[in-house]
Amino acid sequence: MPYPASQDTDNPVYWSAQMTAVAARQDIDAFMRIFAHYGPRVQRYLVGMGVLPSQAEELVQEAMLRVWRRAGQFDPARANVSTWLFRIARNLYIDSIRGESHWLVIQEGLEQLDELPPEDGATSAESFADGVGLDRAIDDLPPQQARMIRMSYYEAKSHSEIAKELGQPLGSVKSSLRRAFAKLQAALRTAP
């Protein structure tokens, strides 16, 4: 393997620096380190969503090419590399697997909006704490809430599907997810 994953893999700051190197000087080594670390994770995500492994590999390649092309738009103050890659992988999934060909264009348009100066005097993005606090907060969720989060994010199950599968009213699923979000958001906004 010419590009072994780095040992410093849990530190989001490290990955933001790799991404910045790709943007600043088209650093292929940094890019391939990102691939070695995140490629298999994106593959796991897509296969979990029900994509055939061979097709998932193709989407992983496509996701990485997008990372390469759009490296200049990566803003470490707004998102971690993992969040950015999640967004790219999810968008490719919706576009190609669910067959919604407008999705990518719409999402790119929405992302551009935050690169413009705010039109209504709104303040710029709040500073984004790294993922360490969030990591713990996900582990600390009550099992039922954690399960719903995973069913939603990792199996793309709708709220009614989750309700049916867990034998709960739809309203309870929604309120559990609201409570889970409140806990996770608090972790995001607090520096570890």
């Binding site: 391939m32 691939f35 967004r87 969030l134």
Partner: protein
């Protein structure tokens, strides 16, 4: 524009997770295009997805995956600047929110409205892969046909306004309604109210039309 009514956070989570149907996603996207607050909340819901990605054990790729990626990089040009659709939208009042363009076209003036009842016109989106998406135009001072019908619905006001027990809904506002919410919106006087609505069951027009006509023709 500063909306006062937003999609529920659980709806934004489903959108972020890719678990919301295309019709409901279209309404959320349209709202996001005018709501800075929700774009920020979406960054948080996306961060949950990112963190789950981090926590997962990877699944090995084929042995030649690195080589293939490197080979494809050789064919990549320098990155190009993205289109300026977003900027355009801000300055032309005839343009629909950009996320609705694929479903209804760009221009309010060119919308092919169909009459469906006194004071009410609509347009169904054709290319929605699941659930139902439509535009509605309701004359001032009338009740909207959007009320309890057993399924979920989400409505965003594009022009004009309406009032119901939940409050005043004006341009940019979203009503993200649970199954059993009772409401009977009445459009504000002055200008017609145009809204985009997603429902998980087709609206039964005969049903509400009968109710709406009742005061006039005693069905």
């Amino acid at each position: 524009m500063k909306p006062h009514h937003h999609p529920d956070i659980s709806t934004l989570m489903a959108y972020s997770a890719g678990a919301l149907s295309s019709a409901f996603s279209a309404v959320v996207s349209a709202h996001l295009s005018v709501c800075h607050v929700c774009r920020q909340r979406l960054r948080d819901t996306d961060a949950i997805g990112g963190q789950l990605l981090n926590q997962q054990e990877g699944l090995a790729l084929s042995d030649d995956a690195s080589e293939r990626l490197l080979a494809r990089l050789q064919h990549e040009d320098k990155p190009t600047a993205p289109e300026e659709a977003a900027v355009q939208q801000r300055h032309d009042p005839d343009l629909l929110p950009a996320p609705l363009w694929p479903y209804f076209g760009r221009s309010y003036r060119e919308l092919p409205w169909k009459w469906i009842g006194p004071g009410i016109h609509h347009i169904r989106a054709q290319n929605v892969t699941d659930d139902h998406l439509m535009l509605l135009r309701v004359a001032p001072g009338r009740s909207l046909p959007m009320h309890t019908h057993g399924g979920s619905e989400m409505t965003m006001i594009l022009r004009g306004a309406y009032d119901d027990t939940l409050g005043h809904f004006a341009s940019g506002d979203v009503a993200d309604l649970d199954l059993d919410t009772e409401h009977q919106p009445v459009t504000a006087p002055g200008v017609p109210c145009i809204c985009v609505a997603a429902t998980d069951a087709p609206l039964l027009f005969s049903g509400w039309m009968a109710r709406m006509l009742q005061p006039f023709v005693r069905l």
